[in-house]
């Protein structure tokens, strides 16, 4: 056990799994960088997550590609059908718009439409989320795990800390279904205690980093940390909350959420995506349908507004739900 960043935890999971299984390989743009230039392998990935893997495993296991997202996703799908276990990097998760067909019409459908006779064990890595003050703008800030959750055939993972990131990445690589692994950019530098050895965190099992009696707060990805901060502040006001981090949105741990809502009678759902047809609405519908008679107050969704993520700092700060916004929502349902 040692303190590792979210970035290092993902890197370590991939390195250890690549060492353990020769079928695991990386494919994507600028995984090591520098190909066709002075120093092949000199970059280590756009976000530094793949640092050192080219040096350790070489070009056969760290497959550098041109900027061709559809071809990357298709190649990963084809290699997986033939028995490989590719980890395909999409860099910014927003770029899934360029290659949606290969993800939602091809790999998501293979098993079902081929009569359950094939597997497609691909992991797609997507850097997601806004970073308050980063100015990444409308095409480099989205958290598209919410739309990907709606496609049968795909699994969707959203780790909220380094410990989860490693365990969930190992589970994702070993999983026989296509998995979208959303890495929260704002968390790459965050660190916590992470075991050095290999361990799995099973999909569909939520974590509950805070336990309380008054309100259930379900939060995703970057919002988990902010929800914890808000809840810790409110303890001084005598309000205690469950904070639920689903960790995977497909499958999702509905049971833990419903049990908590039945016990607290109040539900806040927090995500940094715009609200329409999103995860917060999904969880709200779950509670409304199955825990309606336990509710003491209306369900509250805390989301970004229905706008793209803006560039200007003031607007960007207003776009991503803040600790204060979450705390206000909790006070609101308690009043």
């Amino acid at each position: 056990m040692s303190v590792k960043t979210y970035r290092e935890a993902i890197n370590e999971a991939m390195r250890q799994e690549m060492a353990a299984d020769e079928n695991v390989f990386l494919i994507g743009e600028d995984l090591s960088g520098g190909f066709g230039c002075e120093n092949p392998g000199s970059m280590g990935g756009s976000f530094g997550v793949t640092t050192g893997l080219y040096d350790e495993f070489g070009a056969e296991r760290v497959v550098e590609t041109p900027i061709s997202e559809s071809a990357i996703m298709g190649a990963a799908a084809g290699a997986a059908l033939m028995g490989k276990r590719p980890i395909a990097e999409l860099m910014f998760g927003d770029f899934i718009g360029v290659c949606m067909d290969q993800v939602i019409n091809q790999m998501a459908k293979f098993r079902y439409m081929f009569g359950g006779k094939s597997t497609c064990p691909v992991v797609i890595r997507l850097a997601a989320g806004g970073i308050s003050g980063s100015g990444a703008g409308p095409q480099h800030s989205q958290s598209l795990y919410q739309i990907m959750t709606s496609f049968p055939g795909l699994k969707v993972v959203v780790p909220s800390n380094a410990y989860e990131a490693k365990g969930l990445m190992i589970s994702a690589i070993r999983d026989d279904d296509p998995v979208l692994f959303f890495e929260i950019k704002a968390l790459y530098e965050e660190s916590c205690e992470v075991p050095d050895e290999l361990y799995e965190i099973p999909f569909g099992e939520a974590a509950m980093p805070r336990e309380g009696n008054d309100v259930t707060v379900v939060a995703f990805g970057q919002m988990v940390g902010r929800a914890i901060e808000a809840v810790d502040q409110l303890a001084a006001e005598g309000i205690s909350c469950d904070v639920i981090d689903p960790r995977t949105t497909s499958p999702m741990d509905n049971e833990v959420i419903l049990e908590s809502v039945e016990s607290t009678g109040r539900l806040i759902v927090v995500d940094e995506s715009p609200p329409r047809c999103g995860l917060t609405a999904d969880v709200a519908a779950l509670a409304a349908e199955h825990a309606f008679y336990s509710l003491k107050a209306p369900i509250k969704q805390v989301c970004a507004p229905h706008t793209p993520t803006p560039f200007a700092t003031e607007l960007e700060m207003a776009h991503i739900p803040s600790v204060e916004k979450i705390a206000d929502a909790i006070r609101d349902v308690m009043s």
Partner: protein, 332 residues
């Protein structure tokens, strides 16, 4: 090119191989014509993209392929799957959506697949297949197993970005991928000359950095010879290659297509002058490689196979709707 005994010998086409090729093409033809009949008589619902007229493309390529090789196909995919050895009776069950179908009736006409036999599926998305085939070829290169991976796609697919991306990636990674472009003159209901801005598709494809040849897809021997060269090129580790096969389709884009966009007499001409089966049979007559009796016997066997397959498909087991959730995931 006229086919001679010497040419058959040069191509290594002995009697067993000729029988295999003819059986493959005849099976495709009768499968497709029977589907057309069954749709017209109302016993089969849905829309089907028929391959009649293009049989030599699939057979001429697939007759070269071995166990570790793979193909990926298109919405007009029955022919490729049959030529690659898919179980015809199970394919017919699939057409009827039976739970005993090759894909348990979940995929249907546009998703016939048998991954264990190297059939990565017919594919309902135009241009969807080539990137996947590049991945299969990448796995072959990693395994160092000398396999070759073939994507079939039509003249309508060649202006999809996915196909450009796949061709470039295959060249960059130097993988054993053969891109077979089947030019049947139409992408859906629009002519190839309108859709493809340049007037030399072969040269355009070659500009990606791989050798590309173009031959008459109605002539099995032309296809077989050239496909053999290109597959050998890929197998030898030199990287990807392309093959453009020109052969018109005898039917519309789909069953029920009224075809107002086609010139009068085109299909009649194709059926008379460009029928791959007739041309093959004529070549057999000239070379005495297979007798009329040999061919008639294959015809009879194929007709019986298709008749039995249709009867079995119509009587095939159906789904219990409560089982709709099965096989979405390996585990969930």
């Amino acid at each position: 090119m006229a086919t001679s005994k010497a040419r058959l010998k040069k191509l290594g086409l002995d009697k067993a191989k000729l029988i295999s090729a003819y059986r493959s093409m005849k099976t495709i033809r009768e499968f497709e014509e029977r589907i057309n009949t069954e749709v017209n008589n109302g016993r089969l619902a849905g829309f089907y993209h028929l391959y009649s007229g293009q049989e030599a493309n699939a057979a001429g390529v697939c007759e070269h392929l071995g166990e570790k090789d793979s193909i990926i196909s298109t919405h007009r995919g029955h022919g490729h799957c049959i030529a690659r050895g898919a179980n015809v009776a199970e394919m017919m069950l699939e057409m009827w959506g039976s739970s005993d179908g090759l894909c348990k009736g979940r995929g249907g006409t546009m998703h016939v697949a048998d991954v264990n036999k190297g059939i990565l599926g017919a594919n309902g998305i135009v241009g969807g297949g080539p990137p996947i085939s590049v991945g299969a070829a990448l796995s072959g290169k990693m395994n160092k197993d000398n396999s070759v991976h073939v994507s079939f796609s039509g003249d309508g697919s060649v202006n999809q970005g996915t196909v450009f991306e796949a061709m470039n990636l295959a060249v960059v990674l130097q993988v054993p991928a053969l891109f077979v472009v089947e030019d049947n003159f139409y992408g859906e209901f629009t002519g190839r000359d309108y859709q493809t801005g340049c007037d030399d598709l072969r040269a355009r494809t070659e500009a990606f950095g791989m050798p590309v040849k173009k031959v008459d897809g109605s002539d099995f021997f032309e296809v077989y010879e050239t496909a053999g060269e290109m597959i050998e090129y890929c197998r030898s580790g030199k990287g990807p290659a392309g093959l453009i096969l020109e052969a018109g389709r005898f039917h519309g884009h789909f069953t029920g297509d009224p075809e107002p966009y086609r010139p009068k007499g085109e299909v009649k001409y194709l059926r008379k002058e460009k029928d791959p089966l007739k041309k093959f049979a004529a070549d057999m007559g000239k070379t005495d490689a297979l007798s009329a009796k040999d061919l008639a016997q294959i015809d009879d066997e194929v007709m019986a196979l298709i008749d039995e397959a249709v009867d079995a498909a119509i009587a095939g087991p159906r789904w219990e709707p409560s089982r709709i959730n099965e096989d979405v995931y390996v585990s969930y």
